[in-house]
Structures are given as C-alpha cells and as structure tokens.
C-alpha cells in the first residue's frame, strides 16, 4: 500500500488495473473521460494487461463489455449521464443475464438543457435494472468499492453486475490523498473470475433466447433474491477488504452513520456532499443541536434493516440530488418506504451542479428544525422565473 494524491478518476483507473480486468469497452463522456484516457495511457506504456475496445457509442461500450464478460473474463466500462441513458437497454440485458460486470458512473445531470455538472438522476434512473448500486463519497471509496465490486459480483450468491457512482467533477476531478493497495494485496483479495455460465464451444449453451412466461418470471425472482442475498456478501467483502487491502474505511456495514446515537434529527445523504453534511453537523452540534448524518452507500440492495435501525425514533431529513418528477426525491421515497410512520421530510437541491456546501447544509438543517414543513426545493441563491419561450423584443 502506498499513499498518492490523485483524483477520483485516477483512483478508479488504478482499481481497474489492480483488479486485473481483461477487457474494457470504452467511449468518452464527461466527466468520466479521464478514466478511459488514463487506462489508454497505461496501456500504451505497457502497464496494463487489459484489452481496450474503443467503440463507437455507449450502447456498444456496454455490449462489448457484456460480450467479453459472457465469454468468461473480468470486464469493465465507465459512463455518465446521456451515455448511461443511451446504454440503458444493455444495462438491463447484463443484469437479466446474471453476468458479473463492473461499471463506474461519473454522475452528471441529464439534458435538456445541456448541463455537464453533477447530480444523481442518471445513476438513480437505473434503480430497477437489477444492478448492485453503490455510491462513493471520496476518491478513496471510489477505488475501494470498485475493487470490492469484482468480488461481490463474482460471488455465486450474487452473480449480478455492479455500478459504482461517483459525483462528477466533485470526486472525479478533485485530487486528494488516496491509499493505493499493492498488486499483491489486491491479488490476495480477489479470487479468480467466477460466473454462472461461459460461452465456450466445448459446452455450447444458449444465453438469452425465448423463455416461457413462468421461467421468465422465475428469473426475475432470482434477481430479486440475489439482490437480497448480496447484503451479506457486501458486508463480508467489506470486512475482508479492510483486513487484507486498505485498513481504513467503514466497510463493515452497507451504509454509514455519523453521530446518530444520541441525535434527535438525522440527515440522510448520498455521495460527496455527505462530508459537507458531516461538517455542518459538527458545527451545529456546537450550537447544541442534536443532529447526525446517515450516509447511503448502497441504493441496491436497499439496506432496509440498517436504515430502520439507524433512523427510527428520529426526525429525518432526506437530501436528494435527483428527482422523480411529480413524486419527489428518489432517496426520500426509498427512506419513506422503510419507515412509513416516521417523521420524514425531503428536500431536493444541488441539481445540475447547484453548489451545496457546509453552509448551505447548515441553512437547510436549521430550516428543517425550525419549520419542518414548507421546504421542498432549496436554492442557495435567488433565482428568477424560468421563461419556457425565449423572450422576444416586442415593440
């Protein structure tokens, strides 16, 4: 293990290398581009054993990655925003085939209008696809979760693909201190590739042809059961990771609690701004406000038991960086479903790169504590009315 000052994208690229990925289908999209550039540079320098397929679209990036994984090797890709939406069909195809694949989503707003900055809507739009879905809060965690992902997805209790979300620019481009494991450490952690079936002329099987309605439904149920079973696998993989690879982090649970034990109020967040929330909580505690943070690390599987245990008996505020239009924040609806009778409010903010830091967090939490109703969409700055038509100069 060694310390390096690197960006989230660098950290993920190193994770791909250390996990001895054999094939990666790549297509550029901001803000993950730097991952695939970095892999290409490593390849050119002869440091990477991965075969890189430079495809012509994200749909093909996922298809190529899927083809390689179906043929029996560790396969990886990365995407964001429009790209994830463009590959949506193949994202489902991979999970439905129960083939382990790992993908990074450098999260970004979805158009129109064009917006390259961060939010979580792209990532959250894959909630029901069958993938395991983790979200990092630091470059360190982006790397750790990416390595763990291979172990989790290739466990026979799981055999599902996994995506790791990472806030675009905030994590993908910001450099910070990261503990990078050695090749030996990762080798000792990752067993050889395993998957339910392999394309092999010596044992010709057909994958994905027509199923009877009953068999199809059974397969859907098996994905659901595998998601639930994966909770145990994730915790095992996390503990083992802290033991063998990087001895820091808090991977013995799916999600993470911060100063929650004695708190009256809990703020639920996911991703990079969890750290802003923690700082805000530290300062608010000095003002005798008993508030803590609950950080969602896994959206799928949903850590029902952990969520209930951490949040019951508290006033809960869920901050969403994504929205289900006409319904509200997506994390909000998830948390509410786990605790239907609890006092839970949701705030949507930070969409499309709206900047939310420690001070904005403090303002939101204060408002919540003082006036529990009445805040749903939070803008840190004054915003005017949106003109849907371009304003024209009329005499």
């Amino acid at each position: 293990m060694m310390e390096k000052v690197i960006s989230g994208n660098d950290a993920v690229a190193l994770a791909v290398k250390l996990s001895r990925v054999k094939v990666t289908g790549i297509y550029p999209i901001t803000p993950q581009t730097y991952i695939i550039e970095s892999l290409s540079e490593m390849k050119d320098r002869g440091e990477l054993e991965t075969e890189i397929i430079r495809v012509e679209s994200e749909h093909s990036a996922m298809a190529a990655t899927f083809g390689a994984a179906a043929a029996g090797v560790r396969a990886y890709t990365a995407t964001a925003s429009q790209g994830l939406l463009y590959m949506h069909e193949m994202v489902w195809w991979v999970a439905g085939s129960r083939i382990p694949v790992v993908m990074t989503v450098g999260t970004r707003a979805v158009g129109p209008p064009w917006n390259i900055w961060n939010e979580h809507t792209d990532f959250m739009s894959e909630r029901d696809s069958g993938w395991i879905m983790a979200f990092a809060s630091t470059p360190q965690e982006a790397m750790d979760l990416s390595i763990m992902a291979f172990r989790i997805t290739e466990d026979e209790r799981v055999f599902l693909p996994m995506m790791v979300g990472m806030d675009g620019f905030i994590l993908s481009h910001t450099k910070t201190r990261v503990y990078v494991p050695s090749q030996e450490e990762v080798d000792s952690y990752l067993p050889p590739r395993r998957q339910p079936y392999v394309l092999d002329p010596e044992d010709p099987i057909a994958m994905g042809n027509m199923f009877s309605p009953e068999d199809y439904m059974k397969l859907r149920e098996s994905i659901h059961r595998a998601q639930i079973a994966s909770k145990e696998v994730i915790v095992e993989a996390g503990k083992e990771y802290m033991k063998r690879v990087v001895p820091i982090g808090s991977y013995s649970t799916l999600n993470e609690s911060y100063k929650l034990e004695d708190a009256d109020y809990a703020v639920v967040v996911m991703g990079a701004w969890s750290l802003d929330a923690m700082q805000a909580v530290d300062e608010l505690r000095k003002e005798w406000l008993k508030v803590g943070v609950y950080r969602i690390r896994f959206v799928r599987p949903w850590a029902e038991e952990e969520v209930v245990k951490a949040l019951k008996d508290k006033s809960v505020l869920v901050l969403d960086r994504s929205v289900s239009f006409g319904r509200g924040g997506q994390l909000y609806t998830e948390v509410k479903a786990s605790l239907p009778d609890a006092d839970i409010k949701g705030v949507i903010t930070g969409l499309g790169g709206v900047s939310i830091g420690k001070n904005e967090m403090k303002a939101i939490i204060r408002k919540f504590v003082e006036r529990p109703q009445g805040i749903e969409w939070f803008y840190p700055k004054e915003v005017g009315k949106i003109e849907l038509r371009s304003p024209r100069y009329i005499k």
């Binding site: 054999k22 094939v23 289908g25 054993e49 075969e51 397929i53 430079r54 495809v55 012509e56 679209s57 749909h59 093909s60 990036a61 996922m62 298809a63 190529a64 990655t65 899927f66 083809g67 390689a68 994984a69 179906a70 043929a71 029996g72 090797v73 396969a75 069909e89 193949m90 195809w93 394309l199 092999d200 002329p201 044992d203 010709p204 099987i205 057909a206 994958m207 994905g208 042809n209 027509m210 199923f211 009877s212 068999d215």
Partner: protein
C-alpha cells in the same frame, strides 16, 4: 472433397426442434453455414427471426454457444467476445448472425464501428428484406416497389446497398451469397472464417411469408434473384472484386434474364407499376455498372 447437397444438409449443427416456418431460408442458411464453419465458433444472435427459431430456452436448436442480444448490440458484443477469447488464448471465431433490420437500420452504427476497428469477427446478414419476425414491416433493405405491412402500396425508396457500404469500409473481406447456391455460400464462409480481421457476408434469404410465395419454392426464388441479376454474387477481398461464376452473365445487360421473372413469382410485387419496375431496373443497372468497373479494376470503393 466436394459435398453433394444432401451431404451438406446432413452435416450441420442445426438440430431438430426449431420454431421456423416451413420453407424458412434462415434455417437453410444456418445448415449450410454451420457446415462450412465447423466447431470453433460462438454466435451472437441479434433480435430477429433467429432469436425465435432457436426454440425455447434453456434448450436451443443451434448447436453452438449462443449469445442472444438486443437489436443494436451484435457487432460490439462480438468484439467483446473476440477480445476475451484472445486474452484466453483460444482460437474461436465470434460470428454475428443478424437480419437486415438489425444490419441496415438499427445496428448500422455498431456494424460500422466494428468494421472500422477491423475487429476479428465474421458478420453474417441473413437478408429477407423486411422485419419478418414482427410481421413483415419494411426495412432499409426492402427493395423499391415491394409491399410490406408498413408500405402496403409498395416501398417508395431503394434498397440500402449494405455490401457496398461495407466495401467502402475497406475491410479485408465482403461477400454476397444466396441460399439458392449452397456451394458458393459454403466456399465464401470457409474463406471468411480464415480471415484475420473483419469479414462481412450478406446472404439473400427469400422468405415465403413476407415475399408471398409457396414455402416449397424458397430455393427457386433464391436462384431467380441471382439469374435475373437482382441479387449479385461476388466477393471483395483486399480491394479485389471477384464475380461468382453463377452471375458472370450479369456483367452484360443483354444476357440477363428479365427482372419480371423474379418479380412475378412473388406476391409482394403484385401491385407494382411499370414506373416502379423501371426504377428497380435502374437500381440494378447502376449496381452492376459499379460492379463491372470494380471487376475491371477501374473502381475501388
């Protein structure tokens, strides 16, 4: 060793239990092609009739490892398989099996990308000139004048010439074939299998249901398409065009059979008027003029 037609049909990897219609040209193509391909291949089957013809999972009538994929995913998925096989040190050909809809329309970008990268894959387009699996709607590969369920009074635009598009990619091997000429098809597949790099073979597959003819006449229609020069048989290898013997007569317009013979044996051209026939003939003439120039070495795509 030369095989008789009966030998060809018996030495295949197509097992009983397919759910193809009687007279299905794709089944005929699979029998011939698998005989030529042999064992070391993985098939990527793109959405289309063949997704169904294999029969109900977990069984399969295609005795190959098969990856069924979404419409636009074939060439990319095969690229991934080829890469994986390379890293495993296995000599296995990744073969894409797609219809004309998957090729000319929705899969074009992915096909073009794989060709540009010169992926070591074999792409086979079984061209029945419409979306037959969904009930016979027009595709980019439907010829002008043909009636389909979405062009009931006849298609207004010409067939997209995919072999020409593929030749323009300058890939190592492009060929056309017809299920009416099994030996020719076999030879081409054998050659394509040995190519290191991208190869493309488009097989005309007359479809009794969409084209509206008796299921017993599939081979006859497939032959007529070639004899009337509607469908050319050629191969393009490293920039050199070879016209197959079966249609050398097409190089000269005077020795071609009239196209009407091909049109009147099917129901889909029943309502076609003289104007459309003329336009179809112009398309055929223009195609042959280009092929003639390439054949003489005076044109390179």
């Amino acid at each position: 060793m030369s095989l008789g037609v009966r030998d060809i049909l018996n030495k295949h990897k197509l097992m009983p239990g397919t759910s193809a219609c009687p007279g299905c040209p794709e089944n005929i193509a699979m029998r011939i092609i698998s005989t030529a391909l042999g064992e070391n291949a993985v098939f990527v089957v793109v959405a289309g009739c063949s997704s169904v013809i294999q029969g109900m999972g977990p069984n399969s009538a295609y005795n190959y490892p098969i990856l069924n994929v979404a419409f636009a995913a074939g060439p990319a998925a095969a690229s991934g398989i080829a890469a994986a096989m390379r890293t495993k040190g296995k000599n296995v050909k990744a073969v894409v099996w797609a219809g004309d809809g998957g090729t000319a329309d929705i899969g074009m970008a992915s096909l073009s990308g794989a060709a540009e990268r010169n992926e070591d894959i074999l792409y086979i387009c079984v061209d029945n000139e419409a979306y037959m699996n969904t009930g016979g709607q027009r595709s980019g590969s439907t010829p002008i004048g043909a009636s389909t369920t979405t062009t009931p009074s006849g298609k207004r635009h010409n067939k997209k010439n995919i072999p020409f598009i593929m030749m323009a990619h300058r890939v190592p091997y492009v060929a056309t074939a017809s299920v009416g000429y099994p030996h020719d098809l076999m030879e081409k597949i054998k050659k394509a299998k040995e190519i290191r790099g991208f190869s493309y073979v488009q097989v005309l597959c007359p479809d009794p249901y969409g084209w509206m003819f008796e299921p017993s006449k599939t081979a006859e229609v497939a032959k007529l398409a070639v004899q009337t020069c509607y469908w050319p048989l050629f191969e393009y290898e490293n920039g050199v065009l070879r016209i197959s013997d079966e249609c050398l007569h097409c190089l000269d317009k005077r020795t071609r059979k009239p196209i009407e013979e091909f049109l009147k044996i099917q129901g889909r051209f029943k309502h076609v008027d003289q104007q459309k026939i003329k336009e179809l003939e112009e398309y055929v003439d223009e195609m042959w003029e280009k092929l003639r120039l390439m054949y003489k070495g005076n044109l390179k795509l």
